[in-house]
């Protein structure tokens, strides 16, 4: 915790949560987004529809799930459908406004790798793979991405295109016949990024409080572009911080109650 009164991770989650609206139908993907989506639901967007790929539609968990198929997601959902129905009717059918994804490796055009580090046939590290992400990335009307910055994670060239963002940039999506918008927002622990309207390269549009351009560049593997007019992300409000911290405390307590040592955050399967 810095003298700011909140951590970079808290700023990231809260900044990401602010991007979601009450009328969004949000497919909560693998990785970090779960906290942001639920903070949005518990603060400014109580009417938001959160969907997890296990088939739970309109879920409202009291604690963050450890896996994407925790029982509480089903208990609190409007309805729970089969996995084929989830991917066919709801995702492929064009009913998802926001796909919210995390990433192991990300490039400046919002392409995501969660499959392998190294060569596919002889990988240095075999990661879990894409799960629902390849189709979430192309069938959701737009994509938000959230991840903590690091040179290992934000790279000039990803090792494998698990999920397509803007490809090589420009009109690459349209050239492949993909009519959805793709990545329109990246929220890291340091900044808010949006794609350049023409090149589609992620560009920093807002620095979080206390963050400098140098700090953003030092933890990013490509040469960072900054918008001409750079904003400062409003710091978390008391309500946002309290909501996030209470949610995390409830989550920790719940996971401790049934699983000693369950300290890790939500990383989904």
């Amino acid at each position: 915790m810095s003298e700011l009164g909140f951590t970079p991770d808290e700023m990231m989650t809260i900044a990401a949560s602010r991007a979601l609206k009450g009328d969004d139908v949000c497919f909560v993907g693998i990785g970090a987004p779960s906290a942001a989506c639920n903070v949005a639901r518990l603060t400014h967007a109580p009417e938001i529809t959160l969907i997890y790929e296990s088939g739970t539609i309109g879920t409202a968990p009291d604690v963050l799930p450890l896996s994407i198929g925790d029982g509480e997601l089903c208990d609190t959902a409007v309805t729970t459908v089969s996995v084929p129905e989830m991917f066919r009717y709801w995702l492929q059918g064009g009913r998802i406004s926001i796909g919210f994804l995390g990433a192991a490796q990300l490039d400046k055009f919002g392409n995501i790798n969660t499959t392998v580090i190294g060569d596919y046939a002889h990988p240095k590290t075999r990661l879990p793979g894409g799960g629902g992400a390849p189709e979430i990335a192309t069938s959701s009307r737009e994509i938000y991405i959230t991840m903590a910055q690091s040179k290992r994670g934000m790279v000039d060239k990803i090792d494998f295109y698990t999920s397509f963002g803007h490809g090589d940039g420009g009109d690459h999506r349209q050239r492949l016949g993909i009519d959805t918008k793709g990545p329109t927002l990246l929220v890291t622990d340091l900044a808010i990024w949006k794609p350049d309207p023409d090149t589609k390269e992620f560009t920093v549009v807002s620095l979080h409080p206390g963050v400098t351009r140098d700090v953003v560049q030092e933890s990013c593997g490509w040469t960072v572009k900054f918008a001409d007019t750079l904003e400062e992300t409003p710091e978390p409000t008391e309500l946002e911080l309290k909501t996030l911290r209470d949610l995390k405390a409830r989550t920790d307590a719940a996971h401790k109650g049934e699983a000693v040592g369950a300290k890790r955050g939500s990383k989904d399967g």
Partner: protein, 285 residues
């Protein structure tokens, strides 16, 4: 017509060396007891199909039972990577493992196509995704009406599917509820379907008419194994044992520790041991 059998016999009667087999469960209702019985019986050269291979496929791969895995997300949900699967893919230990990797949408469509008796599944997918480059079973078809190019993958038709479910009635009809995942499609896509259940009840007369039920004539065998999904969960019976998933990360990280754990907790145990494993999880379900 479903036969009620002890699990050891249900597995022996329905699984063979070289089979393509699915032990399905999308985080919920994972048929761990059936997988452990298959491990005890020492099957070889299996093609393992599953959307989310987790601990049980890590265990079967680590025990050298698999020649191929067909999957869409090979992780330990909530924890991270599968270390025995990684050892097989990265180092060929205990032997090389062929993999056929898909997305969830592809696998879900492939199971559904299998259940529908179709040779392939067609869907809007894999656009820009590199899996299409490395998996020759990801192809495309052109819609004869609109000209749209769509993804095509072969249907999944396992020789046998194992699932866990909440309950059967005395006639052998099977009820699945909560996160139903891919259980119904996986069972109907297979030539033989074996179901482990928490309990058998007299009838389903007082239940909601639209619950997911597999009629007894669509199921080959049923075995009653309370706790048989542990460390996964059975909605309404017991909660997910998150501690076991975290513990597995350490066990599977070391080849010797893995073998010792398997000997002590699988080889020397039986299906009857599952009930005690979920006792402390029943009050939080």
């Amino acid at each position: 017509m479903a036969k009620f059998l002890p699990l050891s016999q249900a597995v022996a009667d329905n699984l063979n060396d070289g089979d393509t087999v699915a032990f399905e469960g999308f985080t919920h209702l994972i048929p761990t007891a059936a997988a452990h019985e298959a491990i005890r019986q020492g099957f070889k050269d299996l093609t393992l199909v599953r959307m989310t291979p987790d601990l049980i496929y890590d265990q079967m791969i680590g025990m050298g039972m698999a020649k191929k895995a067909i999957f869409s997300y090979a992780g330990n949900p909530g924890v991270g990577l599968l270390r025995r699967l990684r050892d097989a893919v990265e180092n060929g230990f205990p032997h090389a493992l062929e993999i056929e990797e898909h997305s969830h949408a592809a696998m879900a469509n492939a199971y559904e196509a299998g259940a529908a008796g179709l040779p392939c599944a067609i869907f809007r997918g894999y656009r820009g995704a590199e899996l299409a480059r490395v998996n020759p079973n990801i192809r495309s078809v052109t819609c004869p009406f609109t000209g749209e190019v769509l993804a095509a993958v072969p249907s999944v038709r396992p020789d046998v599917t194992f699932i866990h479910a909440q309950k059967a009635n005395r006639k052998g009809d099977v009820l699945v509820e909560g996160i139903i995942g891919i259980q119904k499609e996986a069972a109907l896509a297979a030539r033989r379907a074996v179901v482990t259940v928490e309990e058998v009840v007299d009838n389903f007369d007082d239940l909601h008419p639209n619950l997911t039920v597999l009629p007894n004539w669509s199921v080959t065998a049923i075995s009653v194994v309370p706790g048989g999904a542990h460390p996964s969960y059975a909605h309404g019976y017991y909660a997910r044992d998150n501690a076991s998933y975290l513990e597995w990360d350490e066990i599977a990280a070391d080849r010797d520790r893995f073998r010792e754990w398997m000997q002590e907790n699988v080889i020397e145990k039986s299906a009857d041991d599952f009930a005690a494993r979920v006792e402390h999880l029943r009050n939080v379900a």
